[in-house]
């Protein structure tokens, strides 16, 4: 019995290792299959306080291929991907809707004033409820939504310049037909 006690750390580690292994097979950068090809969740967000951009709701995401980006001023990787979002909006003319998660409006406004605003619409998700509806795991996250308002692709973490050519743009082009 006492010997078993000393083997306990090994057993616990074994359980942990299984979790790690399962974790590796799951790409945190991929949506749980449940949301892909499904309509975007029902949500409705007020505009970002003090900003010109209108708010964001489920009905706004139809009729056009769009990106939905979840961002916050307190999130350092969001700042890394910001220039990429600016390029997408300005050079490629892709409409991006922003969900501003758990942020102070003043901070968010300041960030957009300083680094440029790539968003056509911004929903202020003050309490993070809408982000939960979207199944957001860590921010930044970006979704590609097709004309019918269905989620077609999810990118977790900052979009790096190489992701643009490798994944985001090909998918958008394919959906735009």
């Amino acid at each position: 019995m006492k010997r078993l006690l000393f083997l306990l750390p090994l057993i616990l580690f074994g359980v942990l290792a299984v979790y790690f292994a399962v974790g590796l097979t799951r790409d945190p950068r991929a949506v749980p299959s449940a949301l892909i090809d499904k309509p975007v969740p029902q949500f409705s967000l007020a505009p970002l306080e003090g900003s010109d951009a209108p708010g964001l709701a489920t009905a706004d995401l139809k009729g056009k291929v769009r990106l939905v980006n979840i961002f916050a001023s307190w999130c350092a990787p969001c700042r890394i991907e910001h220039p990429v979002l600016m390029r997408l909006a300005r050079e490629y003319g892709i409409e991006i809707a922003g969900i501003n998660q758990k942020d102070k409006p003043a901070d968010a406004r300041e960030m957009l004033e300083r680094e440029g605003n790539p968003f056509a619409r911004i929903g202020a998700d003050t309490d993070g409820r809408a982000s939960i509806e979207w199944g957001v795991y860590g921010i930044p996250e970006t979704f590609v939504v097709d004309r019918d308002g269905r989620i077609r692709y999810r990118h977790v973490g900052p979009i790096m310049p190489q992701d643009l050519d490798a994944k985001i743009l090909p998918i958008i082009r394919e959906l735009q037909g």
Binding site: K2, F6, P9, G23, W74, I80, P158
Partner: protein, 625 residues
């Protein structure tokens, strides 16, 4: 067995050669090497060309192995007092870890991949990383992470030998202490960088990668303390061995988390699943193997001396219980999203509220006991007597709390608890020193003589404990009493924050090797006297098309005034963010004091000269399992 020493030295020399080769490629901007192309640029300042070597995944792994083999070589060189069998086993375990990671580099992360034809120029390092604080953050952090490998190797070697005694603890402690000092400095540098570079004035975010460095620190702190019990009292042996294994295990888990991308984080290195699988395999071999060894061998370790609950040992056990609970808490918070996802429970994130609600309450009893512990006697102690000797510290703590109450007219209760903890830790450490040198109870000359003769380890303990007190004061002050002002300002305008008048006097431009900057000039006055001229700036890096904010910080060592300049709007007004952070510099001063305490303890005579009670009898041969 004699092969160990030349092999360890040879491994170090060869890895150092490889590292020097990579560094050379960076310094001369050799763009036929892919790694240099992706992370460097001819216009990058020399400092960042050099530090860019470890600013990327491949190079940082090479640094990891370099430090690992450095520790191996150091054990080979300085371990003259070690029994030959123990030394050979330590070096072979250390060498095995090295082989594992070298294979990892060779198979999945070769830093020397060439490209042909070489491009004209590189893609530059992420400008956020071009910063002195972050340039030296990884080497210190790795010194800590990897330094714990020595404790691990010693633990594995002791299990193979089947014998743990006070001499063993005495050999392990300096390595653990050195690693702990490195990790303390490394974590402090990282948090300092986040504070001044990210531009939001925060210094800790409970991000998975921050936690990954914090868990080995907590476990390593526990290890340092439990090894004292083994050294002095020959007790807690099997627990100490387990801690040594777990501390390095947590360093490996940290590496796994950062490199495999199972949790997404601020510190996103390029993620490649093959790397994750490889590190997981390494982790399983290292941890699975050593824990199996532990399960088989730990039961045969002889139990050591007994002690009453109220005793120095008892206090150190309490320290260990609290620190390991804290480690487990941080571990759970960090891993919970992974666990939940693996069982199909969906994706969640665990944020600072969880950690604040669970971690802080564990620290309160830890700090409360910390001041008392060093005053307790070994085996059986007199708690009332020890508390009696802390009367002065308790009185000073009460004064600090009352002064805080008066200065802030109340303030959040938690902040008062924080200040009480800080003062208690600080004055408790001083009281312990005063008690040991019989300050005011013996003639001054006698006290002075005692102070000089006090072992360095006692000084180290007191200094490190006082350092923690200073750091807690900093964390409390900056969390509870920060004031911020975000406002639109034009040159010529003045705002008031925390009793200072801050005038925006002008704008300028500055051009450097690899960026252009917009500079703002701010004049800070209090009453009629000039406090500081602050020049926050915003830098734009044309190569990566990214910009960074450079906050201007004026510190008077008791509080920071922190000014950030934002982009202008169409009318030429700039968003200016001004923060007043009371006590925040103390966080890093405290961390440096803690590391200094570790270094003082490291210079203790016991570690420098031979071990007095070394046992001549060689280890009894143990039948193979």
């Amino acid at each position: 067995m004699e092969v160990g020493k030349p092999a360890a030295l040879g491994q170090f020399a060869l890895v150092a050669l490889a590292f020097a080769a990579l560094m050379h490629a960076y310094v001369v901007s050799d763009f036929s090497v892919l790694n240099v192309v992706q992370n460097s640029h001819t216009s990058k300042p020399m400092l960042y060309k050099v530090t860019g070597v470890w600013g990327n995944h491949e190079g940082s792994m090479l640094l990891w192995v370099l430090i690992l083999s450095l520790f191996g070589a150091a054990v080979a060189l300085f371990g003259r007092n070690l029994p030959p069998t123990l030394k050979a086993r330590v070096l072979s375990v250390q060498g095995l870890i090295g082989v594992g990671f070298l294979l990892f580099i060779l198979l999945t992360s070769n830093p020397f991949v060439r490209i042909d034809p070489p491009p004209l120029d590189g893609q530059d390092l992420n400008p956020l990383l071009q910063d002195p604080g972050l340039a030296f953050h990884p080497p210190f952090l790795y010194l800590g992470y990897v330094g714990f490998s020595v404790a691990f190797s010693f633990a594995a070697a002791a299990l193979i030998e089947g014998r743990v005694d006070p001499a063993w603890a005495r050999w392990v402690r300096p390595w653990t202490l050195a690693a702990w000092c490195g990790l303390t400095v490394g974590i402090a540098l990282g948090s300092w960088w986040a504070y001044y570079e990210l531009g939001w004035g925060g210094w800790w975010f409970w991000d998975p990668v921050e936690n990954a460095s914090f868990m080995p620190w907590l476990a390593g702190t526990a290890l340092l303390h439990s090894a004292i019990v083994v050294e002095k009292r020959d007790a807690l042996k099997s627990w100490t061995i387990l801690l040594a294994i777990l501390t390095f295990g947590l360093s490996l888990v940290g590496t796994f988390l950062v490199r495999s991308g199972v949790l997404s984080s601020v510190h996103a290195f390029a993620v490649d699943p093959a790397r994750g699988v490889f590190i997981l395999a390494l982790l399983m071999i290292a941890m699975g193997g050593s824990l199996l060894l532990y399960g088989l061998r730990a039961p045969v370790l002889k139990l050591g001396g007994l002690f009453a609950p109220i005793s120095r040992e008892g206090a150190l056990v309490l320290n260990n219980l609290l620190l390991s609970t804290a480690t487990a808490t941080v571990f759970l918070g960090t891993m919970y999203p992974l666990f939940l996802d693996a069982v199909g429970g969906g994706k969640v994130s665990v944020g600072p509220p969880f950690f604040n609600a669970t971690f802080v309450p564990l620290m309160v009893p830890l700090v409360a006991a910390m001041a008392v512990g060093p005053l307790l006697a070994w085996k059986r102690a007199d708690l009332a007597g020890a508390l009696g000797r802390l009367k002065a510290a308790a009185a000073l703590t009460a004064i600090c709390v009352l002064a805080t109450l008066y200065a802030y007219q109340g303030g959040p209760v938690l902040a008062l608890v924080g200040i009480a903890m800080a003062a208690w830790a600080f004055f408790g450490a001083l009281a312990e020193l005063a008690d040991r040198v019989k300050l005011f109870r013996a003639p001054l000359a006698e006290s002075l003589r005692r102070a000089v003769n006090l072992p360095r380890s006692a000084w180290g303990t007191a200094v490190a404990h006082a350092g923690l007190g200073i750091a807690i004061a900093g964390m409390t002050g900056s969390t509870a009493w920060m004031t911020e002002k975000i406002t639109l300002m034009r040159p010529g305008e003045t705002v008031q924050v925390a009793g200072y008048d801050i005038a925006f006097t002008g704008l300028g431009q500055e051009r450097a090797e690899n960026y252009v900057a917009t500079l703002g000039s701010f004049r800070v006055t209090a009453g009629n006297s000039l406090v500081a001229d602050l020049r926050p700036s915003e830098r734009f890096f044309p190569v990566t098309r990214q910009s960074t904010t450079e906050a201007a910080i004026h510190t008077n060592w008791v509080s920071d005034l922190y000014v950030v300049l934002g982009k202008p709007d169409e009318q030429g007004a700039h968003v200016v963010r001004i923060y007043h952070h009371p006590l925040v510099p103390w966080i890093w001063i405290g961390a440096i004091v803690m590391a200094a305490g570790g270094c003082i303890s490291l210079s203790d005579r016991r570690f420098r000269v031979g071990v007095p009670e070394r046992r001549a009898r060689p280890a009894a041969p143990v039948p193979a399992e």
